[in-house]
């Protein structure tokens, strides 16, 4: 079995962060772009288990917290929880199916964005955006876009990490 090191996980997260802050700005459609960091965290949770999902989510969220102008630690908490939950329930899904992966990424992107909205709206009373408006105009397009991007990226990552057979997964 091929062993995935921490360095490899963090390197992919750093590349995703760099692309998220540069290239993604140029490929946005109607103001929404794919959430590459969350997509990578879901990958680690899905294929390497809850510990890897939790750890990669925490690191990815912390990196995002540094560069974003948002409540500090909020992304670390949300991404770590997403990675962890994906890791815990990963055995319930047929991970080899691209369609299942797509739906998984889509649902978790929408859920994590909704959680973000709920936390921020609980902290900031004056937020002038209602939940359904946010969900329809922002969460759903981002979730669909992230899900679509995840299909070829997951194939490539599975190839890079030599996760070709079911016994290679956690």
């Amino acid at each position: 079995m091929y062993k995935i090191t921490r360095f490899q996980i963090y390197l992919v997260l750093l590349i995703a962060l760099f692309l998220q802050g540069s290239v993604v700005n140029y490929v946005k459609i109607m103001g929404s772009g794919p959430d590459l960091l969350l997509m990578i965290v879901i990958f680690f949770g899905l294929f390497l288990g809850p510990a890897a999902g939790l750890e990669s989510g925490f690191v990815a969220g912390f990196l995002r917290d540094i560069f974003a102008l948002d409540f500090l630690w909020i992304n670390a908490v949300i991404l770590a929880l997403s990675g962890f939950i994906v890791g815990v329930i990963n055995t319930q899904f047929f991970k080899e199916s691209k369609r299942a992966d797509f739906i998984f990424v889509l649902v978790f992107t929408a859920l994590s964005m909704s959680l973000h909205y709920l936390i921020v709206s609980a902290l900031v009373n004056s937020i002038a955006l209602d939940f359904w408006d946010f969900f329809i105009s922002s969460a759903i397009p981002t979730a669909v876009y992230t899900g679509l991007v995840s299909v070829p990226v997951y194939v490539k990552l599975l190839d890079i990490y030599h996760l070709k057979e079911a016994e290679d997964y956690l």
């Binding site: 140029y26 103001g31 750890e55 990196l63 974003a68 102008l69 909020i74 936390i119 397009p141």
Partner: protein, 259 residues
């Protein structure tokens, strides 16, 4: 297996503590974060130069550069024309009222965008100027086309700008044609909405939106964008309008910070 469980437990405890920390926080600004950005500013500049040089070595680089310069010039001239229109309409209005007021002139500091927000919630940019470059907190930031946002976190060598499209941003604005006021709020999908427009207002698509000059952050009469759609929500006492910003904020390269 046991080791892994204890590791997960430890991280979950840390997450619980951080959640408590978030729930007690009152502001989105953080001195810790801007110090980190200061430390990383040279790497950000390096990454930005790398991206810029990559763009330059692409085919037709010379034409691209010339095109960019000419477009910037057109933008600048358009902005001057718009400013003159504003001055002219102000002049007429003020002459009519026999109450002339001088608009306060302002000087700006140019800065380069070296980083962008990697989040799908907030909309901000990082610039290469900080306290040492004369940047101050809560000052307006402009581009050649119009309003960009305001300085929210200032480090020694870098600053973070809250864009007008951020959900935490609120700007007092008005419709240039009929002087009807409202508040411009940002949305996570990089668009803006003008809220609290009076029900009897005849605001329509194509109307230009400018800053109202309320408060101390944004000077008056800076172009913000134009009305795309007007909405009347049932049960509300006000209208709202979807606004297209004058500048494409996702592709900003240089900005000007008001001193």
């Amino acid at each position: 297996m046991r080791n892994q469980k204890s590791r997960i437990l430890k991280v979950l405890v840390v997450i619980a503590c951080l959640t408590a920390l978030i729930l007690t926080s009152k502001t989105i600004t953080s001195p810790f974060r801007i110090k980190m950005i200061d430390l990383l500013s040279s790497s950000l500049k390096g990454a930005d130069s790398f991206l810029n040089s990559f763009r330059r070595i692409m085919p037709f680089a010379a034409l691209r550069e010339e095109n960019r310069l000419l477009r910037a010039r057109i933008d600048l001239l358009n902005r001057k024309i718009e400013e003159l229109k504003i001055v002219s309409s102000d002049n007429d209005r003020l002459k009519e009222l026999l109450n002339f007021r001088k608009t306060i002139p302002f000087t700006t500091i140019p800065a380069q965008v070296i980083g962008r927000d990697p989040s799908n919630w907030s909309n901000s940019i990082i610039i290469d100027k900080g306290l040492s470059g004369g940047i101050k907190q809560n000052k307006a930031v402009l581009s050649t086309k119009g309003l960009v946002g305001r300085v929210l976190e200032v480090g020694r060598y870098s600053s973070k700008i809250l864009l007008i499209t951020d959900p935490n941003s609120k700007v007092g604005v008005m419709i240039q044609r009929n002087r009807q006021g409202g508040i411009l709020v940002g949305r996570p999908d990089s668009r803006c909405r003008m809220i609290y427009i009076a029900l009897d207002s005849d605001v329509m698509p194509g109307d230009r939106v400018i800053t109202a000059g309320f408060g101390t952050i944004f000077p008056k009469d800076i172009i913000v964008g134009e009305v795309v759609r007007v909405d009347k929500e049932p049960g509300r006492l006000y209208k709202s309008a979807l606004i297209k910003t004058a500048e494409d904020l996702s592709k900003l390269e240089e900005v000007m910070c008001i001193r």
